[in-house]
Symmetry: C3
Subunit: 261 residues, 3 copies
């Protein structure tokens, strides 16, 4: 897609989130900074209706409960029917048995178009042995690109593994995104925000693999620009929002750094 950011800003897609209570504000505010409109609604009585007027659904299990998982299934079912993209951020999979079971329940009940997690979360979802230190990635024993590719094939989903380099695969194409900055890991929530950004890029680009790649490139570029001006995590976060807001497709295209394999 030629100018995804311009398209987002012109069409202002509504992005429905059912997310965690830690980073819910930043998921909303980052969606707004990119030019889209966020809405958060988790009541079972209304969540399908809210999905019904939205252009993408972003799910995040960071502070899941069984009730929230039920709401996610209701909304994702509505999203599947409406054929809008569903993004799942598999936060903390591998940390507890309950989280693994609930993630499996989600994947077994609805189609997730884009499954995102860090290296160990995706490895665990894909059936590899992996543990998560809370919501942080730990080392995995297998080749991450192979995991992404094969898990994408078996689920017919786009798989996004985030880390120092991000891996994105649809089972055929695999992109390695090298944009981003280590300061993004020094604040809580950049991973959650990245899932929102993927959701809003996918809402305007039916090639979800390319949309996910572009989302992580653009967001990573804003992180690179913000890092140059920052003295720590406080100022970095302020600058991250300003850089996203001031980003253009032209600027982003000149800084995109990825490989296709």
């Amino acid at each position: 897609m030629k100018n995804p950011l311009k398209t987002i800003r012109e069409t202002k897609p509504l992005i429905h989130h059912i997310t965690n209570w830690v980073t819910i504000y930043d998921c909303a505010n980052m969606t707004r900074a990119f030019g889209a409109l966020p809405v958060m609604a988790h009541a079972p009585e209304e969540c399908a209706d809210m999905t019904g007027i939205s252009s993408a659904l972003v799910l995040n299990i960071g502070t899941l409960t069984s009730e929230i998982i039920d709401a996610m299934i209701i909304s994702a079912t509505a999203a599947n029917e409406k054929k809008i993209p569903v993004v799942l951020d598999a936060v903390g999979v591998g940390a507890t048995k309950f989280r693994d079971e609930m993630a499996a329940k989600l994947l077994g009940s609805v189609h997730i178009d884009i499954i995102k997690g860090n290296y160990s979360e995706i490895a665990k979802l894909a059936g590899e042995s992996a543990e998560t230190k809370g919501v942080e990635a730990t080392s995995i024993n297998a080749d991450p690109e192979k995991i992404a590719k094969e898990f994408a094939k078996s689920t017919s989903s786009i798989v996004v593994m985030t880390g120092k380099e991000d891996i994105i695969s649809d089972g055929k194409r695999t992109f390695i995104v090298k944009n981003g900055h280590e300061q993004m890991g020094l604040i809580v929530g950049t991973g959650c925000m990245a899932a929102s950004v993927i959701g809003l890029f996918a809402s305007v680009n039916s090639d979800y693999c390319e949309a996910s790649r572009d989302a992580l490139c653009y967001f990573g570029i804003a992180g690179e620009l913000a890092a140059k001006k920052s003295n720590g995590p406080g100022s970095f976060k302020v600058n991250l929002y300003d850089e996203v807001f001031n980003l253009s497709d032209e600027k982003a295209k000149s800084m995109m750094n990825f490989e296709e394999q």
Copy 2:
């Protein structure tokens, strides 16, 4: 009222919120920046007691559930008995049937002293045809000032319609507030914060129509001052808090921009 901000800072009213999970921190922190004290409590076992020691109650249905609506009714009943102002921010009315029903339930169960929403939310509450794009206003077919005035009459409430210009009516007097800056719409939560600010101004001024007008003028002025120094939504939000904190009644009076109709 001559010096509302000075009065707030001297008396430090306690403002009880039952609000949404997206902007709950900013509702609390903006209350604090103005010099009042926020408290958030939604457990049905304690919410009436918390209202009982407070000077205003602010309700926001941004992420409502049926349980939260029940808690709001308990607290608003206590507020009505205590004769402290109740503010309702009707976030997202028009977006889903459930939200419309729950807002109607609230309005039918307790007296709301100040009903706030964007143009389409208030139009919908008032029985006009209007739709909401999630929590964003869309165009309405009717004259907004007429809606505000008539809805205020029929509910015996102050009606606050926020938009590029804010309309405030008690059915007789109608104020048009022109303070504010478009950058306020570029971050999530300024609408929710505005409801908190209305609550704290109403806690020290029994003329709720004037209090709502002053609240939106003062908050809008802080937004105008912050916008001058900002490079995007990150720095704007930081500056908004600083400008609110450093605002004085004298400064605000010199910049207030409203008409009475």
Copy 3:
């Protein structure tokens, strides 16, 4: 302990929080800024497992419900068995009967290693007559140092009373911490963040009395440094994060300001 901050940054302890919905992000992000890893999980099905992989448990009753208290008891029981420190921030005790009862239920069900609150919250917990203005301290009639010392003895806990000066006692030793800055009281959440900081210092130092003292000194020093550069609560908060991130044990040692009594 010689270099607590260096130890935290090298070992990156996982700090499990069951906390309130207002400041949950800041509890997480401040944990991260100090170099530790936060995780938030409150589902009863997983909270014990999450505690089981953590190095400290931080509980905060700021927006408690009976369900959340049950989850706290499950997790604190797991923490007691694992012998990792449990911190309780007794937010709002004294404001409502329900809050007092739930705090008593917690203290009666599990061992809390470090009980933290402002002067009136701790006085109330200790059985003195005290009221809380929402979540703000009010004056108390008794000698706070005596309360801290005797309450520590009767509970076999470390008691932390925060205020203009912080009092920390294990029943034998009593520290008075004079670091900190009044601007810390102008933003919402510094009290909650302080409980997180105590949790992460206690996770690497089995002398919880010394750990609590160091935590409040270090956090207060960052507040002092941030205040010098700030124009209001917006910029103060940004600078607070930057100063925490850039703090070193050497710098902190040179600025620590406490007395032992």
